[in-house]
């Protein structure tokens, strides 16, 4: 069994790649964990699509404000320097490409960066998309945070998504418990393999042709 990093370790690893001054939207679910690992010494401005820039951590239980929530409808706080705005302005901000980073969960990501994360297409399921499609196409960098494999062992990195798409050719990078993958014009490239994972072992797990990513300066 290959080395896996924990969800917390993965969140911390993603946090490392977010430079100071970034405007960041953390999708609901696991991506929310990334906030816990953003260094307090750095100013990174969190956006929540229901109308707030400068979102702060959860309040104490007796200081919950039902008017101040995040996209997951959990109570949050507002930092000094925060600003409120309405929904059309908030999604204009996203659609207009003003966010530097968003971090999203995924069911599948394809080699060309297609994202499937809103519906499994299961018959009888009630469809719900929320802001996922806007986030997928809106940010300058769309990072996916996910386990590499499903519970039944199938790769979430795929040649082509079989689940309904959220966005086309929109994912920049995929952070998994096995490795970090860049989406490139030639398919997935391994940016960083955790523990004893290698390009070869990852290729076997995913069933995809993989290569090593070219080094980048900074992030």
């Amino acid at each position: 069994m290959s080395t896996l990093i924990s969800r917390e370790q993965l969140a911390a690893r993603i946090a490392q790649d977010i430079p100071e001054g970034s405007y960041v939207n953390l999708g609901i679910g696991a991506p929310t964990l990334v906030a816990n690992f953003l260094p307090e010494t750095l100013e990174i401005i969190l956006h929540t699509e229901n109308g707030l820039l400068g979102m702060g951590p959860a309040p104490e239980p007796d200081r919950i404000d039902p008017d101040l929530i995040n996209a997951g409808k959990q109570p949050v706080t507002a930092l000094p320097g925060a600003a409120y705005f309405h929904h059309a302005d908030s999604f204009a901000m996203m659609r207009g490409g003003h966010l530097d980073v968003c971090v999203l969960g995924a069911f599948q990501v394809s080699e060309r960066g297609d994202l499937a994360n809103w519906s499994t297409g299961a018959p009888g399921a009630i469809p719900a998309v929320g802001g996922a499609m806007d986030l997928a196409i809106g940010a300058k960098n769309v990072y996916v945070m996910t386990d590499l494999l499903t519970k039944t062992g199938e790769s979430k990195l795929v040649a082509a998504c079989t689940y309904p798409l959220t966005g086309v050719a929109c994912v920049t990078r995929v952070y998994t418990d096995h490795a970090i993958f860049d989406v490139t014009p030639e398919g997935f490239a391994v940016r960083e393999a955790f523990g004893d994972n290698t390009v070869a072992s990852l290729a076997e797990l995913t069933g995809l042709e993989l290569r090593e990513a070219a080094p980048v300066e900074g992030n």
Binding site: I28, G29, T32, T48, E49, N50, G51, L52, P59, P61, D62, R63, I64, D65, P66, D67, L68, I69, A71, G72, K73, Q74, P75, A78, Y84, F85, H86, H87, A88, S90, F91, A92, M94, R95, D114, G124, A125, I126, P127, A128, V129, G130, G131, A132, M133, D134, I137, G138, P164, L165, T166, G167, V168
Partner: protein
């Protein structure tokens, strides 16, 4: 003298017709005009088309309106939530029609209605099943889908304070869909905590100018404020916290919803 204030929520919702399209503000519980929805239920209008980001939470507000089977169709972005059991049941029983719209397209289509835009090309949803059948166009190397305005007969909005001209300010993320829905409906009905004298809202800070508002009704201060100051002491649903010895009134949240 212009006076858009009305004395009761019943007066506020008077005249809403069967078959009307009704926009309802709010994102989950925040900004949901619960008192106006209760008045709409009492009023009795049926066969409604509702526009809201969600499809009701728990058993109150929009969920209660759905439970009374007054809603024929709902346009929303995120109906499925941990506590959307009322909608879930109706949907599975085929008793409500759903038009699922990505949240940003929902917001922009509502804005377009208020702004007199005939249609617009949006990149959101392109290549997904939610853009199937829509007109596509490549502009400067990117593909967009044509989206049309969403108009309504009535908007029900919850704001924080208002004056007799209908000028409004909101509170925190409870602002959400209020301003754009106010502009997109033929008749905009607003509940506020408090009606304040004309001129006491800062003209630099008014979010919805009164031109978009037809009726304003005061419903009293929200439970987590006192004289406008935040005092807390409630759970995320706005219910009073009970003392630690008897446990929290907050039910378990099983998962986050969008």
């Amino acid at each position: 003298m212009i006076d858009k204030t009305v004395g009761s929520v019943a007066d506020a919702v008077a005249g809403i017709r069967d078959g009307a399209t009704v926009m309802i503000g709010g994102f989950g519980r925040a900004g949901q005009p619960v008192e106006l929805i209760d008045a709409l239920i009492a009023h009795g209008a049926k066969d409604l088309t509702v526009v809201n980001n969600n499809a009701g939470n728990g058993d109150l507000g929009l969920a209660a309106l759905l439970a009374k089977k007054r809603v024929r169709k709902i346009l929303c972005s995120f109906p499925r939530q941990h506590d959307s059991w009322v909608f879930d049941g109706l949907y599975r029983a085929g008793e409500i029609e759903l038009e699922l719209v990505p949240q940003g397209n929902l917001a922009e289509r509502i804005r377009a209605a208020g702004a007199g835009i005939g249609a617009f090309f949006s990149p959101t949803g392109v290549g997904t099943e939610l853009a199937e059948g829509k007109e596509l166009r490549e502009i400067d190397g990117r593909t967009y889908a044509l989206e049309y305005p969403i108009r309504a007969d009535v908007a029900l909005v919850s704001a924080y304070r208002g004056d007799r001209w209908g000028n409004l300010v909101y509170r925190e993320t409870a602002r959400n869909f209020g301003p754009i829905m106010a502009a997109a409906a033929t008749t905009t009905i607003v509940q506020v905590d408090e009606i304040v004298p004309l001129g006491s809202l800062d003209p630099e800070s008014i979010v919805t100018p009164g031109i978009f508002v037809d009726r304003v009704v005061a419903v009293g201060e929200r439970d987590w404020l006192r004289d406008g100051a935040f005092v807390g002491g409630v759970d995320i649903e706005g219910r009073p916290l009970v003392s630690a010895s008897t446990g929290s009134a907050t039910g378990p949240r099983t998962k986050a919803d969008q």
